[in-house]
Amino acid sequence: MSKLLTPEQVTGLKKHAAAIRHNIIEMITKANSGHPGGSLSATDILTVLYFAEMKVDPTEPRQAGRDRFVLSKGHAAPALYATLAERGYFPVEELLTLRQINSRMQGHPSMKDTPGVDMSTGSLGQGLSAANGMALAAKLDNKDNRVFALLGDGELEEGQIWEAAMLAAHYGLDNLTIFVDFNGLQIDGEIEKVMSPLPIAEKWRAFGWNVLEIDGHDLEAIFAAIQSAKQVKGQPTVIVAKTVKGKGVCDMENVADWHGKAPSPEQCQAYLAELDACEI
């Protein structure tokens, strides 16, 4: 695929992604609960969406004509919040209130609480339906704003996902582009062993979707896939993004146990040092 981003743009995105990963670890440690593994695997996708792609205005988060994003795997809320803070929706310091009483940073995304959150999610399987509704509304109004959603691979075990998959293809929602964060792990272990949703790409193809498969940590590939999806008419696109759960923190990478566990303050210091030492 030809290069669509300049080297400077890529460097800029990498810096944002590094800052987001740093904040994910810090906020989950402070909260002493949360989901680091799936937040870190989704970080690069969120970075490209919010810093290279989506038409949004952090000073006007509810603007009618904006692009919208639904985090269907709502437990990756720390990644979304860190991305929104990095993008300027609210102060970065507020991230440290995650999961605490009276905080706008709820354990799972709440559109009523957090500026920039377009849909309340957290109970798995429900986000794609909402994204469909948003895409249908844009079509009805002849608006060209686009809808994006991010699904977990374990989440594909939910039946509602496939109800929604059928709908998006049936109504030809070419203004909808979704990602599957294919990190291969869910709480109880490898997705293949718990309840295999494999083969993933073939399933979506069979449901009538345009399917792209990429490395979910390659910022240029993520951006290129989104541009490719925009060219497709009459069909929604799913980008199956192969990712590493816990990406960026050696201890956490590919370890299912880090799905929903907070690092200790000591671990946090080591992990932050590791992340900050990464060359960009």
Binding site: G125, A130, L136
Partner: protein
């Protein structure tokens, strides 16, 4: 005999009219549009009607997304599937974010009839009223349905409308105006108050007439607004008539009877009796045979009054 009109019929007609007036109104159904009467809207406004297929969870989720993007979606299917199958979608995707979705569920209660227990929702009021942010309305006749549907369209926030399959007689005249959180006084009385919703309202009125002949003066309140409920009218009735009988085509657990009891015990405890489905599933049969077998007839209300008055 007076003309009978099912509340679902009035729903379909009102929806079509609303669609003419407001282009933000969209309608979703899950392969039951001929039964729920959303087909009337679909015919007039095909571009704003979405058949979701037999997928009620996705029905609610899609409606939530349309509402998040500024539309006013009416999502329809049978009460069983709207509140049972898709309960958690209604809770988490619609009510928690307080999205502007109208859930208009038809075929509620035993009067679904021949389809039997699998299709007879006798728990839906209970399920919906326990969800924060949810408004619950059970219209009694065609006129009130029209009013309630129009109210729902202009109210911002989730609404559950409970509609029936069976034709029901008119309770209200042309001038009736539905008001959220207000009970409608249908007959005044001193000795007991009958509080009814849905198909049971006309039966409560008949019961009041029979009671008059027996020398018992019964007040009749139509409580279509189950949530919010008219606390003032209930307290007033408890204080002034000293006994209450609730009448609903729903399980006596969690529905109108429970909602009224919650108000009564906190403010003015008086003897109460709940006419309704006595914590059982239904079965196949004609609506009238079911109402008879499950003790939801006028005579059952009269009997409940005779019992409750003894406890005054």
């Amino acid at each position: 005999m007076a003309k009978l009109i099912a509340t679902r019929e009035a729903y379909g007609d009102t929806l079509k009219a609303l669609g003419d007036e407001n282009k933000d109104i969209v309608v979703l159904d899950a392969d039951l549009s001929k039964s729920t009467k959303t087909s009337v809207f679909a015919k007039a406004h095909p571009d704003r009607f979405f058949n979701i297929g037999i997928a009620e969870q996705n029905l609610m989720g899609t409606a939530a997304g349309l509402a998040a993007a500024g539309k006013i979606p009416f999502a329809s299917t049978f009460a069983m599937f709207a509140t049972g199958r898709a309960y958690e979608q209604v809770r988490n995707s619609i009510a928690y974010p307080k999205l502007n979705v109208k859930i208009a569920a038809t075929h509620a209660g035993l009067t679904v009839g021949e389809d039997g227990a699998s299709h007879q929702a006798v728990e839906d009021i209970s399920l919906m009223r326990t969800i924060p942010n949810m408004t619950v309305i059970v219209p009694a006749d065609a006129r009130e349905t029209e009013q309630a549907v129009r109210f729902a369209a202009q109210y911002v926030g989730p609404v559950y409308l409970r509609l029936g399959r069976m034709g029901v007689p008119a309770v209200f005249g042309e001038n009736y105006k539905f008001e959220l959180g207000k009970a409608a006084l249908l007959a005044d009385g001193r000795d007991v108050t009958l509080m009814a919703c849905g198909v049971m309202v006309s039966k409560a009125r008949e019961a009041a007439d029979i009671l008059t002949e027996k020398g018992i003066s019964a007040r009749v309140l139509n409580i279509s607004s189950i949530k919010p409920i008219d606390t003032e009218a209930i307290i007033c009735a408890a204080q002034q008539t000293g006994a209450i009988v609730t009448c609903e085509e729903h399980n006596i657990i969690g529905g109108l009877g429970s909602a009224v009891a919650e108000v009564v015990v906190e403010h003015c405890p008086v003897p109460m009796q709940r006419v309704g489905v006595q914590d059982s599933f239904g079965e196949s049969g004609t609506p009238n045979d079911l109402l008879k077998k499950y003790h939801l007839l006028t005579e059952d209300i009269v009997e409940a009054v005779l019992q409750v008055i003894k406890r005054k």
